[in-house]
């Protein structure tokens, strides 16, 4: 029973991940007074790309073709470590949050390698930015999770989320708020959303993620889009799991609460993107240092 439940949660994550993009885009459209693309547009895009053929430049090696798929495999492996709301993840062991962070890092590393493999200076620039900013957002994520681990005394992400029962809000409200804010900034930065990167630009010198994948086409690009959506879902689930304590014990209520809070998170991202401008490239490190400061503050409060 428990195994099937975990598998259902996993499948739900795989199926629902691109929907987040749809919700974000619809929210932005609503703010801009447009009708917006269909909610399922991301699915259509990925499906269309997967059926196409890929074009490979003569200057690329096998790494260019392998990068997106190994990166996808890393994100899928990471998905098995992330708990779904109050339910435990399919695989949980002490220290699994470190593995989660490094699996996501591995997927980014392969994307960066395949970007550098094209030899295009434009892609090299994007790759350099991507690793710079991720190097700054990783400590924020790590320290925030360390604060929760120290407070709950659990070393596994699943245990941490299970321990985030409603009373954590009552007896450690400040810590939850700080960790939630730090994770939100990391969520926006890791998924290349607006205060850090604008996902809509394709021909600007300031873009980060989109510039790395310019030379990928067909199924390779489709799987990159899908991996990015899945990664967004996973980080969102970590955030929601720690901040929204949905543990009623009734199965369908918990599941529904998680799905609803994920949708709300997507709406929140849409609101942030509509109401804020992208931060200047030079100021992004400052934002990420701010997130790290919030995490350190949470740790200090826990250790006090």
């Amino acid at each position: 029973m428990m195994t099937t439940l975990k598998l259902v949660h996993l499948v739900l994550a795989f199926v629902a991940a691109p929907l987040l993009l749809g919700i974000i885009n619809r929210t932005k459209a609503l703010f801009a007074g447009r009708r917006g693309q269909p909610l399922l547009q991301a699915y259509y895009d990925i499906w269309k790309l997967l059926r196409k053929g890929a074009v490979y430049s003569r200057s690329t090696s096998w790494l260019f073709a392998a990068g997106p798929w190994i990166g996808f495999a890393a994100v899928v492996a990471a998905a098995t470590l992330v708990p779904f709301g109050g339910a435990r993840a399919p695989i949980a062991f002490p220290g699994d949050f470190l593995v989660l962070i490094y699996l996501l890092g591995l997927s980014r590393f392969l994307l960066v390698l395949s970007a550098l493999d094209t030899g295009s200076s434009f892609e090299g620039m994007g790759a350099s930015r991507e690793v710079t900013f991720s190097a700054l957002s990783e400590p924020a994520l790590l320290i925030a999770l360390a604060a929760v681990a120290k407070y709950t005394g659990c070393m596994s992400l699943s245990d941490m989320v299970v321990a985030t029962v409603p009373h954590l809000w009552l007896c450690a409200g400040p810590i939850v708020v700080l960790v939630g804010l730090a994770l939100l900034i990391v969520f926006l930065s890791e998924n290349c959303r607006i205060p850090v990167d604008d996902p809509n630009t394709h021909l600007e010198l300031t873009m980060i993620h989109e510039v790395m994948v310019l030379d990928h086409s067909g199924p390779d690009f489709g799987i990159i889009l899908y991996s990015a959506a899945l990664k967004m879902w996973l980080l969102g689930q970590v955030l929601v799991g720690l901040v929204v304590p949905a543990h009623t014990g009734v199965l369908w209520v918990d599941t529904l609460a998680v799905l609803l809070s994920m949708a709300l998170l997507a709406v929140l991202v849409g609101i942030i993107e509509s109401s804020m401008a992208r931060v200047r490239l030079l100021h992004v490190p400052q934002l990420l240092v701010g997130a790290t400061t919030l995490s350190i503050l949470a740790v200090v409060l826990v250790l006090r």
Binding site: T293, L297, L301
Partner: protein, 214 residues
Amino acid sequence: MNNAADIVLVFLVLTNLMLLGLSRLGACIRTVALQGIALGLLPLLTKGGHMELHGTAFAIAIILLKGGVFPWMLMRTLREVNAQREIEPFIGYGKSLAVGTLILVVCIWLGSRLPLPEPVMSSLIVPVAFFTIMSGLFLIVSRRKALTQVLGYLVLENGIYAFGVALVDKQPLLVELGILLDIFVAIFVMGIAIFHINREFDHIDTDKLSGLRS
């Protein structure tokens, strides 16, 4: 753990850190206003609801002054002097944030070494008060514009007030009112002074004022 008071105290820490990282003067003034409002709420939360009349009236006066009147006066000065942002502080914003975190850790250590004679509402209040005082001082020494230095002075005073809240039963109301009147006059005078500095020299960069005699 007094949760509501703790949240307000953590909010104070966050506003301090924000002030260290912000460059727009208008945003800085708004942050100080928010800090003043949070500070006014603090004594109300300590008592847990049952509060005498003069205490409540005093808290309301604090909120009105620090959250309304001071920011309004500073905003007016800002409009008059036509300086929108701190251009080049002596210590950059990223570094200021890092220094702020360091100060915070030192203050928490300091707070653990200085126990108050009797239990206070929250063990956080002493470190947070220290941190607010320190970041106010840091703002004064690390920024160029006279307006930011006035804000640093206000933050410094907020820290002293937060320290006073910890001993709210011991401190006579008259002393508090006296301090409040003092800073009211100080902000008033500083606003006028900044205006005159600007009219005389076309800027409010204090480090250039050392060359007045030449």
